[in-house]
Amino acid sequence: MRRRIGPWLVPAFGGLAFLFLLVPIAYVFAFSFNDAGRTNLSWRGFTLDNWRNPCGAPAVCESLANSLQISSIVTVIATILGTAIAIGLVRLRFKFNATANMLIFLPLATPEVVLGASLLAQFLNIGVDLGVGTIIIAHSMFCISFVVVAVKARVASLDPKLEEAAADLYASPIQAFWRVTFPLLLPGIVAAALLAFAMSFDDFIITNFNSGNVDTFPKFIYVAATRGIPAQANVIGSAMFIIALLIVIGGQILSNRRAKMLAAR
């Protein structure tokens, strides 16, 4: 008799793992409805006030606006530079591969404290004022590596024959890129951009080293944690989570439906 524990063991365990992942988010969500007053530590009763007035606590929304602005710019910079590197590296496959890969890999192999500290040392040495600009630079730097890794896998799995087919069909190299290569890389690029945005949005350590007195959302929470995080922060954390979920799932459903419609024709 074959032992048949596998079939239910994996889903059960995997399901528990997902639960583990979501428990604190559920907690954050629940406590966004807490009638908390100054500190949101214990349950004081249900209210919708926090959701009606998410900017009610001082500086929550400023820090969120900073974060959104920074993450958006970082996403654009890191996605463009990282995608270009990923494509370039695959094209130059046989040339100075080791050096290039090392340069991409090292930031991933360096803990955030070190990245943050070294950038800070650099900024201090050349006397740059810390602020939004330095945060953007710092975030872009570590996000590029993630983008390169994510996009490179996609580029490498692309059939080079497709570009040849485009050239064979009168497409100049530039047309071949925009009409064939780019659309095929796009899902990978979008995923990489999403990852870059998430990493930037959620970064605290590197930000803390290079932000001067500019607050990002995570920094605001960290600072607030010592005297009590306002429930509005929970509202924003929950809302961001839900928005991200809806955007991606919505996109997924749309593309699934389109595929089904195509298949039905």
């Binding site: 992942l21 040339k95 340069l103 080079p160 040849e164 949005f201």
Partner: protein, 312 residues
């Protein structure tokens, strides 16, 4: 011609025996390749490589007698290293120990998650998509907020401790927060996505027919897993463990929020406080540099031992 085809005959032959058009085609390919990587590499050079050298330089600065707080002059003060290592080696060792345990735990949790989504749910695109987003979406809640949530869930007056005490799994005065256990749990939790995603990316490409073939050849599904699936997913496991271990060993949020001040301090906390509270830039830089070298050393050792060449 093709953007994606590397110049195959690049260094194959001396130039003079190749035709002009052959050389031109190769050059065109090469030039575009360089143009593509140049901006990004300049950025990395300016904001990663140079800063690391800045860090190295700063770590050797010295404080002149009678200088103000935060004033240092360039020097080659190697004793900075001896000083910080002498004081903080326990934190360094502890950081690696915590990170190692957290990595193993994250692997134990993350692998089944990745396997469930990538292999068991293969073909069910919508469900796969939703679960994948659930892995990334916590980033948007802010990890400090989530860590803070754990702190309150596990707090002395919280529900978990109450239940554990009632079941006598925890002594009457036992607690979960402010313990090493809580810090490791926090690390495991926070870096779980970094473990799960690379393994998922690897398993997703795995040919399920191989698993079925394994199932035909062996009687036991665990044997199939051990002899077929696991070896094939090793590149994902290696990437995941590295992406978990490295940030975990430098993290200080979990230790700061879930730990105490005596036996859970991690090296990241020390670096942070030497930078911002003590304003000892050389000492903090020296510690950072040591941490970076130590991790690189461990990573190289690890990759040599288990490694695939194709790390990225």
């Amino acid at each position: 011609m093709s953007l994606l085809t590397a110049p195959r005959s690049a260094k194959a032959k001396p130039e003079e025996t190749r035709s002009a058009s052959e050389i031109r085609a190769d050059k065109r390919r090469g030039r575009v390749g360089y143009l593509l990587i140049l901006p990004g590499f300049i950025f990395m050079l300016l904001f990663f490589v140079l800063p690391v050298f800045s860090l190295l330089a700063t770590s050797l600065y010295t404080k002149p007698p009678g200088a103000d707080i935060g004033q240092f002059v360039p020097a080659l003060q190697f004793s900075n290293y001896a000083a910080v290592l002498g004081s903080y080696w326990p934190e360094l060792v502890r950081s690696f120990a915590f990170a190692l345990i957290a990595t193993v735990a994250a692997l134990a949790i993350g692998y089944p998650m990745a396997y469930l989504v990538a292999v068991r749910l293969r073909g069910r695109k919508l469900l796969q998509g939703i679960l994948l987003v659930l892995i990334i979406a916590p980033f948007f809640t802010s990890f400090i907020l989530r860590t803070q949530a754990w702190k309150q869930i596990l707090a002395d007056e919280g529900p978990v401790v109450a239940v554990l005490r009632a079941m006598a799994l925890l002594p009457e005065d036992g607690r979960l927060t402010a313990t090493a256990f809580a810090v490791v749990c926090g690390l495991t939790y926070n870096f779980l996505p970094f473990m799960t995603l690379p393994i998922y990316a690897n398993l997703e490409r795995l040919d399920t027919r191989l698993i079925e073939a394994g199932g035909d050849l062996y009687a036991n599904s665990f044997t199939t897993f051990r002899t077929v699936t696991l070896p094939l997913s090793m590149p994902g496991v290696i990437a995941g463990t590295l992406l978990t271990f490295i940030p975990a060993s430098g993290d200080y949020i979990n230790a700061a929020l879930l730990g105490n001040n005596q036996n859970t301090t991690m090296i990241g906390q020390v670096i942070d406080s030497r930078f911002f509270r003590v304003v000892d830039y050389p000492g903090a830089s020296a510690l950072s540099f040591v941490l970076m070298l130590a991790i690189l050393f461990l990573v190289i050792l690890y990759v040599r031992r288990f490694g695939t060449k194709e790390l990225l």
